[in-house]
Amino acid sequence: MNRTQPQSIPADAPPRRLAPESLGLRWLGLRRFAFALVLVAAGMAGGQEPRENQFLQDRGPFSSQAGADVGDAFEIIETAEESRIEGLSEADRGRGRKSASGTRVAVPESLQRLLKRGGVPTSLQQLQELEQQQQRVARIASACTVSVRIGPAQGCGVIITDTGFIVTAAHVAMRPGKTAFVTLSNGRQVTATTLGMNRRVDAGLIRINPGQNAGEPWPHASLGSSEDLVPGMWCIALGHPGGYDSRRGSVIRVGRLLEVRPDVIKTDCALIGGDSGGPLFNIAGELIAVHSRIGNDVADNLHVPIDHYDYAWDRMAAGKSWGFLPNFKPTLGVTGNQSDEVARIIDVKEGSPAEQGGLLPEDVVEQFGEKMISDFNALKDAVADTMPGERVPIWVKRGATRVRVIVEIGRDG
């Protein structure tokens, strides 16, 4: 039983407003190191106690606030009378087969109330019907749930088109243009490339590189909408908790929606490191959200509502990245002159990541990670494309010599 942290959910929190778990939230991605390297990394960071919150991808101490910038005006939209799932074709009713026609599963009349409004089954018999329904969804949905590895960091994703677009969490995709290794449910590995991401809500997009499926469509999830969701609805989470395990495969969890807001959904589907980017389905087999982060309590599991991928599809598909979660703004801690012709550091903030990494005033930044830096604006952009806790090698010109330092990106506002 996980503890409910005092800061987690104040009893007097206004309804429909996510509690300020600001001290308790973590990303769910996971960096899998050889055992020795975990401690070596910790030692490199100075052997200090980990701070209160941590990025599970070994990007260092980290904390978040869930959708704190969301206005209070949000109203939950009641489920429309007409269900999207009506008019299903027979072809959608397959049991457990890998389907290139999506994951949508017919919902019997007896479960329509649970589908649309959630709630407690009226009898054990209805509980068993719900059970059969979630088992059907889980069987089909596991085929499109994938493991995503970028460098040593591992998370999840879900294929949503037969052409191989994968939705995931922004912090799993990291930044546009990176190569990702995707492991399908049958263990097959394919390569993919990260596209864009809306870091404000932690939504990211990846695409499987073309030409890897002999022209066949990829198994993919049917898209639902996060517009009609209400607390109490049943949901099915898939993912690779603790990282990909070929002997185990993806793990199913079933829970209910606890809170629904425009930028974040909270459920009691228990998640942990490695689950980030994995899918959350309703009992009709429609994708409604993507796993993002957790708090200390086992019932604090946060997901990105699926509609955010729809709103920003064009920008994400074009490889644009923007925004940051409140309190997750990546910072370096240096000032410079934007009109300068090079990225010359004028001042290094005391106690900043830059100072701790060993950057000095008058250093001229020439390369930041993989990016060549032409001027201070380029440096600003490069920092914005990192994530707090990420360790970035920086090459600077210091007098006549070229120096390489490693900075662990900090976080701010």
Binding site: M1, F35, L258, D268
Partner: protein
């Protein structure tokens, strides 16, 4: 029982970095299972009415728990709640989770509320099972064995974990099919490489069983569980045979003194954990790995709620809860495995 508890030395991060590169390590939190405060938290935990484990959901599945209420007991060891137990024979035999039992006296709270002494009749290390014999006249207790001709759990299916008196301790879903889960039992030391002589301790990992037992740098391991050890490799290999939660007796030479220490083995994976990982995982059993076959499910259990039956949504026995292993993981031994173990344990105990 700790024979001798030495001074705890402050382990430095720097030495950890060096030490971890090779060697036999154990874990940071040994008997971390349950403290009083965990229980207070458990009792105080509020579930939303929208939650899967809401009161209304628990009421819905109560008939399933009640169907086995004469088959579930609560197991106490040394006055503390150790686990639940499942009645497997009408003449007073109960199976439970072995690693939660110490050498302290064992009692069980029967379905009728009576508290009766029990003794360990047989154990199975490989799956952490203990068979308890309840002392006294079983015909008076109104106990009833569970039906061990149960069914296999289906992935994605609901599971109900009944407690004593028809109460439901947990509700969850089968997350992954039954599979073997290996263990990495570690003492929490690194040795100098000594091919022939006694292994000499080069470092002790903080919060490991070795640390709690007071093992110090430069201690020489003469014997492990009474067996003479020559060479660091032999010591490492002997220790790796032991399961997390098992207590190992070390005979050591410290300077001129010969000492005996008892240390608890723990799982290596927990050593990798940051404080935050430990926090999100919550209280777990010390023995949370090393099972021939387990069903993974997402029922939120306390570490001392293992040992009881797990039912499917039709009330069939599908297994026995055997570990709370993390935030998203509880393990249950499948009923087929349990049935086979119970037969041989009953034979052994009745002889």
């Amino acid at each position: 029982m700790i024979v001798r508890s030495g001074n705890r030395t402050e382990a430095r991060a720097a030495s950890l970095v060096a030490l971890c590169l090779v060697g036999a390590w154990a874990i940071p939190r040994p008997a971390a299972a349950q403290s009083t405060s965990d229980w207070l938290h458990h009792a105080a935990r509020q579930t939303s009415i929208a939650a899967r484990d809401s009161g209304a959901m628990m009421r819905l599945v109560r008939p399933l728990s009640e169907s086995v209420q004469r088959s579930v007991v609560q197991v106490f060891c040394g006055g503390r709640i150790a686990s639940l137990g499942t009645v497997v024979a009408a003449d007073g035999y109960v199976i439970t989770k072995r690693s939660e039992l110490s050498s302290d006296p064992i009692t069980v709270r029967l379905p009728n509320g009576e508290k009766v002494a029990a003794r360990i009749g047989a154990v199975r290390r490989s799956n952490d099972l203990a068979l308890l014999k309840i002392e006294g006249d079983a015909s008076k207790w109104g106990i009833e064995p569970v039906n061990l001709n149960g069914t296999d759990a289906a992935t994605g299916g609901f599971l109900v974990s009944p407690g004593r008196n028809g109460y439901t301790v947990g509700f969850g879903v089968v997350g992954a099919a039954a599979r073997r889960v290996d263990h990495d039992g570690r003492l929490g030391v690194r040795f100098y490489d000594t091919p022939t002589g006694p292994a000499m301790v080069r470092g002790v990992f903080p919060q490991s069983g070795a640390f709690d037992a007071g093992l110090q740098e430069r201690d020489q391991i003469l014997k492990i569980n009474g067996n003479k050890m020559l060479g660091s490799h032999a010591a490492i290999m002997t220790l790796r045979e032991l399961y997390p939660g098992e207590v190992v007796r070390l005979t050591i030479m410290r300077g001129e003194d010969m000492l005996e220490l008892d240390a608890m083995m723990s799982d290596e994976r927990l050593l990798q954990e940051t404080k935050n990982d430990a926090k999100v995982n919550g209280p777990r059993n010390v023995r949370l790995s090393g099972f021939d076959s387990v069903i993974q499910h997402d029922t939120v259990l306390s570490p001392n709620q293992c040992g009881g039956p797990v039912l499917d949504s039709s009330g069939n026995l599908v297994g026995i809860n055997i570990a709370r292993a993390g935030r998203v993981v509880s393990y249950a031994l499948p009923v087929s495995l349990v049935a086979a173990e119970v037969v041989s344990m009953l034979d052994e105990s009745r002889q």
